[in-house]
């Protein structure tokens, strides 16, 4: 409970390099906990965590709730579909009501960019951004950093890298509408990686001013130099907005086909935040290659979210 930045996790920028590395270290400790016969610690016993999901998302909510339960926190669940939100209650009234019940952390997913930041003005609890509009999804970025760090550790026979310096990471797909991309650009670059964005011009942000990245529309020219290929989901809504002619054309131009996968370095990593659309951003057979770490990302999601909750709410040693 020191500075506001320490109370909330709204953006990867709230953590900075040191904060991200601290989350990595805590996640290592929780990875050890996960190996135990009973993978649960009393670190947050007596604390209450509420998930407030105003946009449907089963996997992120389950990941957060699992993380909270493994820390022995009590968990409340609020989802828009089953609640007063469908009766027209405002976000402010909803979160003030939940806050009044006494919660230590509110984990907020919202379809509008910036909604979790607004919530911090209205509640006394910590607020964790579980994805806001097309703005940020910081815990996704943290679990992605952790997954890359783990894969590098494996490739170096158990030597844990300090950070992601020296790696060249491409984020491919709908950058413009991706909160995962915005958080990952901040996280990867804070850890020293070189980030390249690959997308057709219609799926790039209008401006990349101030982004620590390079950008290209030419995936084939970039493949050979990459250590990590991070694929984003392509939503069929983008066809209606005339941002793409067809999903087939996207697959042909930007999809990670077998031929493109073979052009990658031998030890390159393929990642995806899920849900993955096989046949669009990734060929079905590439999705099943060992280089593709999608299930590791999901498993690490629980560890990293335990680390985030402990970092914000915990006290003392584990």
């Amino acid at each position: 409970m020191t500075s506001p930045a320490a109370r909330h996790l709204l953006s990867v920028a709230d953590l900075g390099r040191d904060g991200i590395l601290e989350i990595m270290r805590l996640s290592d400790a929780f990875a050890e906990v996960a190996q135990r016969p009973i993978p649960k610690v009393p670190a947050l016993r007596g604390r209450t965590v509420a998930t407030v999901f105003m946009e449907p998302s089963t996997r992120t909510r389950l990941s957060f709730e699992t993380a909270a339960k493994r820390l022995s926190a009590d968990v409340m669940t609020f989802t828009a579909a089953s609640s007063s939100a469908v009766k027209g209650e405002s976000l402010r009234d909803t979160v003030e009501t939940i806050d009044a019940m006494g919660v230590d952390a509110m984990i907020v997913r919202h379809h509008a960019s910036g909604a979790p930041l607004r919530v911090t003005d209205w509640v006394g609890s910590s607020v964790i951004n579980a994805g806001d509009g097309t703005h940020e999804h910081p815990t996704q970025a943290l679990l992605d950093c952790y997954t890359i760090r783990e894969a590098i550790t494996d490739r170096r026979d158990g030597e844990v890298p300090v950070d992601l310096a020296g790696l060249r990471i491409a984020i491919v797909g709908d950058i413009k509408h991706s909160r995962v991309a915005r958080s990952n650009v901040l996280a990867f670059s804070a850890l020293g990686a070189e980030v390249v964005l690959i997308a057709p011009p219609t799926l790039m942000p209008a401006s990349l001013e101030g982004w620590p990245v390079s950008a290209t529309g030419d995936i084939d020219g970039a493949l050979g130099g990459l250590d990590v290929v991070y694929l984003l989901r392509i939503q069929s809504e983008r066809l209606g907005e005339v941002l793409l002619p067809s999903l087939d054309e996207y697959h042909w131009r930007y999809g990670l086909t077998r031929a493109r996968a073979e052009a990658l370095k031998k030890d390159a990593i393929v990642m995806h935040p899920g849900p993955m659309i096989r046949g669009v951003e990734i060929a079905p057979e590439v999705a099943d290659l060992p280089a593709t770490l999608v299930t590791r990302q999901v498993r690490n999601g629980v560890l990293v979210r335990m680390a985030v909750l402990f970092h914000l709410l915990g006290s003392g040693a584990l």
Partner: protein, 466 residues
């Protein structure tokens, strides 16, 4: 009401100790007002027996301000503002006339609604003139009965809140309007290019993940309308221009002699899109806050005289609507109570240096290059908009009604402004029914001390008198 007018008819007031600034120049003089009119102007006027004295020591006495762009929300939006509350906010800002925008519910698109709003304005603290819609219901399909509304005194027509999207219909509207002595005004926004955006498209929208409205959405419609003005010869007024490209289009159009005028708002002069980093919808407005480069271009447009007027686009919204997430909250900001002080703080030498010129909250610090004299600034707020709205000379023959020189015989619509007073904007102390000021907590330089409307002192020492 009748009793009050009787009092005003008999009352005498001396505005004493101020420096008069109007279109004709600047001079030290007192002003004697009787029966709603200025009866004497002189270096030192002794107050007659029983006359009230308005202290203007250290202040500027100027013609009342005229707002070309006010959303009074009545009828239909009374939870956010009424003609009465909006006119009180206007009087506190130094205004003696406002032009009520027609995007009410129902829209001001018929004689009946025009009469209703004019009737509400009879008891207001300022003159309330009415702008009519261009199309029925502002739907962009059929023209309003323009001649009938013009006969009721409507001088300006606009679908403000939206631009007229259909180029063919806009052409017909301009052709039909010519000869009626009215002016059509456009909210320039091509809705296909703006496509669901909520803030300026650029570095900030990209970083924040908020859909952007490109400058081009404004400039494309402006360029289209300038071509239509060229074709039809009709005159047009352009509302709240915000981009460097738009200012350049107006500059070229005027150089070509086209009969066009343009306004800018205080918030587009003072604030840039960096303000949206707070995700606070109090900074959501349409057209959106633009880049700092655009802000500099808008300021330069005033200094060079390309821009004709500063108008508030005062747009009250109930507090709970501004608690919605940025994407869902309505666009609009309060403006009347802060307009002159904001523009003065941002543009006038001395004021910007004394004021709170920090870049936080999207404020664009005053450059050394763009500076206006107080007289030029008052022109953008008073006599120039009065002329655009047709409020400068009516009913009283040759005598100016609003914005005219401070001379014997003129209507006593005056404001007294202290250019040195520093004050902090307090969100909870707005006369407006709404609270959506983007300047809460900001220290501004220059404050309206008194406002006199038709001889009645409606604001005294910064307090509304009714």
């Amino acid at each position: 009401m009748t009793a009050r007018r009787d009092v005003v008819e008999r009352a005498e007031t001396v505005v004493r100790g101020g420096t008069l600034i109007d279109e004709t120049g600047e001079r030290r003089a007192d002003v004697l007002v009787r029966g709603g009119r200025i009866v004497a102007v002189g270096e030192s006027i002794d107050p007659p027996n029983g006359a009230a004295v308005l202290d203007a020591g250290g202040c500027v006495v100027a013609p009342g301000l005229v707002d070309l762009h006010t959303h009074l929300r009545e009828p239909g939006g009374e939870v956010a503002e009424t003609v009465e509350s909006g006119s009180r906010a206007a009087a506190l800002g130094g205004y003696t006339a406002v032009l009520a925008m027609p995007n009410t519910e129902p829209a001001i698109d018929s004689a009946a609604v025009v009469r209703d709003v004019l009737a509400l304005g009879e008891t207001a603290l300022t003159e309330v003139a009415v702008a009519g819609a261009i199309t029925i219901g502002r739907r962009g399909e059929r023209l309003v009965p323009m001649a009938e509304l013009a006969a009721l005194g409507v001088r300006l027509f606009t679908d403000d809140g939206r631009g007229v999207q259909h180029a063919g219909l806009m052409r017909r509207a301009l052709e039909y309007a010519s000869g009626l002595g009215v002016v059509l005004a456009q909210h320039c926004e091509d809705e296909q290019l703006a496509a669901g955006g909520h803030m300026n498209e650029g570095a900030w929208s990209s970083r924040l993940g908020i859909a952007g409205q490109p400058a081009l959405a404004e400039e494309a419609m402006l360029a289209r309308d300038l071509a239509l003005v060229r074709l039809t010869g009709a005159s047009m007024h352009f509302l709240h221009l915000t981009t460097a490209g738009a200012i350049e289009l107006i500059r070229r159009a005027k150089a070509d002699g086209l009969p066009v005028t343009a306004e800018v708002t205080p918030h587009h002069l003072a604030l840039c899109d960096a303000a949206v980093a707070s995700f606070d919808p109090v900074f959501k407005v349409n057209p959106p806050l633009r880049s700092a480069v655009d802000v500099a271009a808008v300021r330069a447009g005033l200094v060079s005289g390309v821009v004709d007027a500063i108008a508030t686009d005062h747009a009250p919204h109930a507090p709970e609507r501004k608690d919605d997430p940025f994407d869902e909250a309505p666009a609009g900001m309060l403006g009347l109570e802060t307009a002159l002080a904001v523009a003065h703080s941002a543009l006038c030498p001395g004021a910007s240096r004394r004021g709170d010129d920090r870049a936080e909250g999207g404020w664009v610090p005053a450059g050394e290059a763009t500076v206006l004299s107080l007289r030029d600034l008052l022109g953008f707020f008073s006599w120039r908009p009065a002329r655009i709205a047709g409020l400068d000379r009516r009913r009283q023959g040759d005598q100016a009604d609003q914005g005219g020189p401070i001379v014997p015989g003129a209507a006593a619509n005056l404001m007294v402004f202290d250019p040195t007073e520093e004050w902090v904007v307090d969100r909870s102390r707005q006369a407006s029914r709404s609270r959506n000021t983007p300047y809460a907590g900001r220290r501004l330089v220059g404050k309206v001390r008194h406002t006199m409307f038709a001889g009645e002192c409606v604001v005294l020492d910064g307090e509304a008198q009714r």
